[in-house]
Symmetry: C2
Subunit: 218 residues, 2 copies
DNA sequence: CCATCTTTGTGCACGCGTTCACAAAGACAT
DNA sequence: ATGTCTTTGTGAACGCGTGCACAAAGATGG
């Protein structure tokens, strides 16, 4: 029986082995002392806990460049997601195949949702249409929404929304890029600009966005 | 002079006002007691600290659906980013306009980077090409990379990489979706499956991914 | 069957971020 | 000027996650 110890896994993942064991303990206790974890069973347990063993039908609304990119994205199928339908408001798009699947018109949104038992919707429309699409998805029974449109969606209680802002990641990179340049320049320029002293920075977070400010202007 | 108090901002952002003041204090101290913060100056200070006042030329490599979507994305310009060039390995793409800008061939990658002083690169290629593109970007002087390809890139010390996995957000939604369904079903099914008891969950994090496990299978 | 060795599961302590609470500071009215 | 009122800036306490360290558990060999 192939097994792994928490020590091996921790080393591979770059985390503390005690934390890893503690996390696993939340899933129940099924490691064997003196041996480790049964790999196959472990994978199954985690997969089940994460919902990877289920089939999640999703709809993608707004088949522009981004919507098409998402439809073609291979990573979904391997994680238990199935693109049930592609929906767009443009009548010219209707019937046109994208990622081997015909685009359907927004008029049929409610029907598509209910017939496929869809509970997760992806919004890749322009900002202006997002809230309206969101409202219709929710009304039709969708309870989780992944929003790529640059708008904050308002939804009723019980509906989860996650917003993906493609520029935020760039923002974070630029922030660090600036600091790289800043440290060299600070000496050379003899502090031409009044820069606040280096922050405490002795926080515990190890991630690359360790000390990004939490608030930024619109 | 238009001003805002930390209390107003905190309420609007949904955070604690003391934390907000403490964060601002790291940028230096420029609020006025009894009045609040000068809005215009505050915006400028934060913008400068985040690098929004600078112009960041970026290149996008891999002009498929996703690359095109990024090139057309409006949010970049308003955050100080300027798409300096679109690069693709397909000779058939060369010269073809995307987002009002001609696609250039990978052969000229190094020249484009150096001539435009690019320090941030976006990789939107298939997984197979990502590492190779990454190596060339780094060799040409890029020190920050935003990776949309489903691969872990290895880079030398001093280069920042951020990976965006479009399916991870879906994963998180599905995880919560499962728990929603689980809580109803748990009663009905009389615990047909051995499910661990509800976690402590009394952690400080308020975000929707409050208690996602940190480790997941490939 | 006992001794030893490995690895899990977890109580406990440490450290860091968050929040509270208040003194200091400035505005504004009298 | 002086007092009052508002809001900042920050020291101190709290709470939570993380990591240490070890007892318990099971495997393995003699």
């Amino acid at each position: 029986m192939p097994t792994v110890s928490s020590e091996e896994l921790a080393a591979a993942a770059g985390v503390n082995s005690a934390k890893l064991r503690k996390d696993f303990s939340y899933l129940g206790s099924y490691g064997t002392r003196g041996v480790g974890y049964d790999v196959e069973y472990l994978v199954y347990q985690i997969s089940r806990e994460l919902g990877l063993t289920q089939d999640w039908p999703v709809v993608i609304v707004g088949i522009g460049n981004l919507g098409a990119a998402l439809a073609n994205y291979g990573g979904f199928a391997s994680r238990g997601f199935r693109v049930a339908a592609l929906i767009d408001a443009d009548p010219a798009m209707a019937g046109k195949p994208v990622a081997g699947m015909p685009v359907q018109h927004t008029d049929d949104l409610e029907k598509i949702i209910s017939e496929n038992g869809v509970s997760i919707g992806v919004i890749a429309t322009p900002a202006g249409a997002a809230q309206q699409v969101c409202d219709r998805l929710v009304a039709a029974g969708v309870t989780s929404i992944l929003n790529f449109a640059p708008t904050v969606l308002s939804v009723p209680e019980g509906v989860d929304v996650r917003k993906v802002d493609l520029s935020i990641e760039l923002q974070i990179l630029a922030f660090h890029e600036q600091r790289k340049a800043g440290e060299e320049a600070a000496v050379a320029e003899a502090a031409a600009v009044v820069v606040p002293p280096v922050r405490p920075a002795a926080n515990g977070r190890k991630g690359p966005d360790g000390d990004m400010p939490a608030v930024m202007p619109a």
